[in-house]
């Protein structure tokens, strides 16, 4: 096994789990002087089954909605003890624990200016509890609480723009990333940690179990999301919107979004609905236009 990995082998995540790749990349970029505060979710359950842990850095899990608040406490305690220098504090949550139930705690942490990097690994539904929709679930996706049917095309609302909500707090650093473009992700982690004050990275992590995709396609799908413009990789520094830039341009011409959708079981029901595919393409095009992507 890879002894250098700060997230050890023997964790019980599904084969091909995108989120575990994100954790490994995150810790490799952050280094061992890092304290991780995590919400309840897949990554917590698969990594901390007593009496074992996959974590080789100090780690705390408390509850579903409060990693940002717990990290605020860790930040304050280290400051109180004069031990804050030279350490990273990373709060970690899935989309359920961040977009939904943990949004308030995240907002509080950002607004108070804690020196914490919050990383949200986004697999677009509540995977740990059995693939229920979250506010990160995209339009059209089938989940166990947004099933397609005679009166349903799947999830009926578009994905919540979380990174933009975070950007509105004007943090020291905010970015979106994809586990597929891992160098871009790791560069962003290092950049975020180099800045004082709160930072946030939303990293897109395919879930073979929840998305009904082949386990070997995780990285490929994560790249395809970017190459079709479905996921836009951008960053903003020092709370200044003039610094906003797209860090990874899709190829010209952009790949059609259908290429990304058709390899995922969660969108299969849309394949014989050209009007829905057109609608999703239009949603993607509009978003790309907002970010200056052709």
């Amino acid at each position: 096994m890879n002894e250098e990995s700060l997230f050890a082998s023997g964790h019980t995540a599904c084969a091909g789990c995108g989120a575990t790749i994100a954790l490994r990349l995150l810790l490799a970029a952050a280094g061992k002087n890092t304290i991780v505060c995590q919400v309840t979710g897949c990554m917590e359950v698969v990594s901390t089954g007593y009496p074992n842990t996959a974590w080789k850095v100090p780690y705390i899990h408390v509850a579903f909605e409060n990693a940002a608040a717990v990290a605020s406490g860790v930040d304050a305690a280290l400051k109180a003890k004069g031990e804050r220098e030279g350490k990273n504090i990373i709060a970690l949550g899935g989309d359920g624990g961040t977009y939904d139930i943990g949004l308030q705690a995240l907002s509080g942490m950002l607004e108070r200016g804690h020196d914490v990097l919050y990383v949200c690994y986004d697999n677009e539904a509540y995977m740990n509890t059995g693939i229920q929709r979250s506010s990160a679930t995209p339009y059209g996706a089938s989940t166990t609480t947004s099933p397609p049917g005679k009166f349903s095309i799947g999830e009926d609302t578009p994905k919540k723009p979380l990174a933009e909500i975070v950007a509105a707090h004007r943090p020291s650093y905010v970015a979106t990333a994809s586990v597929g473009y891992y160098q871009d992700f790791q560069t962003k982690v290092k950049k975020a940690l180099s800045k004082k004050g709160p930072s946030f990275i939303l990293v897109y992590t395919p879930c073979p179990t929840g998305w009904r995709t082949p386990s070997e396609k995780t990285m490929e799908i994560a790249k395809l999301a970017v190459d079709t413009g479905y996921l836009i990789l951008w960053e903003m520094e020092n709370g200044d919107r003039n610094t906003l830039k797209v860090t990874k341009m899709p190829p010209k011409p952009r790949k059609p979004v259908e290429e990304y959708l058709k390899i995922q079981g969660r969108f299969r029901h849309l394949m014989n609905k050209p009007e829905e595919l057109k609608k999703i393409q239009e949603l993607v095009d509009a978003e790309c236009k907002r970010y200056g992507i052709e």
Binding site: M1, S9, G10, I21, R24, S47, P51, N52, T53, A54
Partner: protein, 88 residues
Amino acid sequence: MKITIGATVTEAGSSVRNKTGGWRNMRPVTDLAKCKRCGICIIVCPDAVISMKTREEGPKTDYDYCKGCGICANECPFKAIEMQQEER
């Protein structure tokens, strides 16, 4: 089993006690002649099972933990990794 104060796990990385290799249906086999030692497989493995001590030795997969997801084979730019049916 020692019941620690507050269920604190005091041994970092002790999950290596779980040999997850038993989950595997497909086995990644690396053709070292095709492999260019780029190290991408090491980076993208969700289970941290691939390591490379020296360029001569090349990447080594630890089958005690490999779940056989196939990401390494899919991502290898040189098609040096082949997924073979696991025989039990």
